[in-house]
């Protein structure tokens, strides 16, 4: 195995190196960062038989173009409904292919989803900060944003013909519907809001606005009035906190959120749901459904269990094309036999 050398031809804004994030440092002002859609990140790595926390490229709506300068390396693209052009062949995300020297790869957003993970079979050589490659977008610390002209090295690059082809997964885990019913635990600062605002939050429909980045997702919809203009002392916040600024606009905090802040939080989204919210295109309708804390944990356990099963399936090699062809022939041979008997 040798290294593969890739050159970035074009990288849109917010195309960064990510892993599953550096948890445990919020007390020092450091959010976990990591993939906006952690399931898709894990799936791209699992599809190549790699550690799900390994670094990969997170592609934004701005897209990414690469050329392979030398080496041969398989790659997996997972997340939403992105598409990619691999040396003239256009395919959807949730696919494994192999990139050869001289070939180009162009990743673009498709019909749904805001983020996709592009993983390579090998070890992506990237800067680390505090033990992780995850990029904190506002500081650039970590693996960092990708820029045109940059060279990426994939150490121990290899091809995985037994893993090539479509990655089977469940629609429910990856495609947000046109309308999302999102469970929330009310609070912790709901007392800062008027009774009318609390009623509005629980009954009205909100929409994802075009103003989203790795820090948060602004929502469109009815404004949520605060009880008084006084600001609260800065309090801890987390990924999934729904904070409301003085203008009454709600924002769901995401991977690169500030760890403390003075805006009251009306409710909190269970962590697993933030991955689905991250993929919701602007205009997606969102209805918040208050649940008990125990109900939120039940929802998390159900999603985590589905994801574990899906990732276990994705990590199993499907066999080379020749092996798959042989299996198909055997099966059709058997059914042909049955036909003859009846």
């Amino acid at each position: 195995m040798t290294d593969a050398v890739l050159r970035v031809i074009h990288a849109g804004p917010l195309v960064t190196i990510q892993d599953l994030g550096r948890a445990g440092l919020m007390r020092f002002g450091v959010p976990a960062s990591g993939a906006m859609d952690r399931f898709s990140h894990g799936a791209a790595l699992a599809a190549l038989g790699l550690d799900r926390d390994a670094p990969a490229v997170e592609v934004s709506m701005g897209g990414l173009s690469l050329e392979c300068r030398s080496g041969t390396v398989s790659f997996a693209l997972c997340g939403g409904d992105f598409t990619f052009d691999h040396d003239g062949t256009r395919l959807p995300s949730w696919t494994v292919r192999t990139l050869h020297a001289g070939q180009t790869l162009r990743v673009q957003p498709g019909r749904s989803g805001n983020w996709a993970t592009l993983a390579f079979a090998g070890a992506l050589d990237t800067a680390c900060w505090l033990g992780h490659a995850a990029t904190h977008s506002t500081s650039g610390l970590g693996g960092g944003p990708l820029t045109a002209g940059q060279i990426l090295h994939v150490k121990d690059a290899h091809s995985t013909p037994e893993r090539e082809g479509e990655i089977a997964t469940s629609e429910a885990l990856i495609h947000p519907q046109q309308r999302l019913d999102v469970p929330v635990v009310i609070g912790p600062q709901e007392a800062q809001f008027t009774a009318a605002a609390r009623h509005t939050f629980e009954t009205e429909t909100f929409r994802v606005s075009p103003a989203f980045d790795r820090m948060g997702l602004r929502l469109e919809g009815p404004l949520l009035d605060l009880e008084d203009a006084l600001s609260i002392p800065s309090e801890p916040a987390m990924r999934g906190s729904i904070q409301v600024a003085g203008d009454g606009v709600a924002t769901v905090l995401m991977a690169d959120h500030q760890t403390t802040g003075g805006y009251p939080k009306i409710a909190t989204v269970p962590l697993a749901w933030t991955d689905l919210l991250a993929q919701a295109r602007p205009g997606t309708r969102i209805k918040f459904k208050p649940v008990t804390p125990a109900g939120a944990i039940a929802s998390t356990k159900q999603i985590e269990s589905q994801r574990r099963d899906a990732l276990a399936q994705i990590s199993i090699p499907r066999g080379t094309f020749a092996q798959r062809l042989m299996r198909a022939n055997l099966i059709s041979g058997v059914t042909a036999g049955i036909d003859e008997l009846t």
Binding site: L141, T268, T300
Partner: protein, 235 residues
Amino acid sequence: MTQNDTAKLPAFRPVGDRALLLTYSDTTSHDVSDAIVAADRCICAAAPKGLCEVIPALVNLLVVFDPLETDHDQIEADLRTLLSGMTAVTNSGTLRAVDVCFDPAVAPDLAAVAAARGMTEEAFRTAFLAGTFTVRMYGFAPGYAYMSGVPEAIQVPRKPAAVRDVPAGSVIFAGNQCLVTTLTMPTGWSIIGHSPTQILSSRSERPFLLDVGDRVEFHQIGAASLAVAKEARHD
């Protein structure tokens, strides 16, 4: 903090599927901050089952747990037991030294804030250096350690508009709060000096110099020392 205060438990609020917010008060004070520091240390040291991390802030602390290992009721019960049994502690946070250079080239607002408080720049510097600061919270950006303790005589409010691209290492303050910036960021606070002390170092065993509860003394250095110290930094 007195012995009596230790019996007072915070209010517990569930946050999402994986956290509890422990609130000691609606308003900030030294006693509230000391109670939070004590609770933070107690919880981190005992590490109840499923604990992921604790984020101390000004009037409360967030306890994050793994919902696959415990739940809100269980960890609340664990924390109540822990905090009820906590012995009285005064804030014995480590005393840390942070260097500051007041050279006009790196202290663009010093003359203006001294004038606003009707004192000479020399008197302002002396008053600032006499302050005892306490780290109360991190926030805004990685390594931004908010310290309280700016002496009343030199306090000024934040500026009406933020200034962009303030270099990392700037010593900034507003009201009774002060911090040393670790990234190039906008700020509406007054820039009164520059510190080569590494609050955040990616290479060291202990990447963050300050923990919440630590006390900080500033020591004045000259422009030449600042240049030497900056050269020796490991970012």
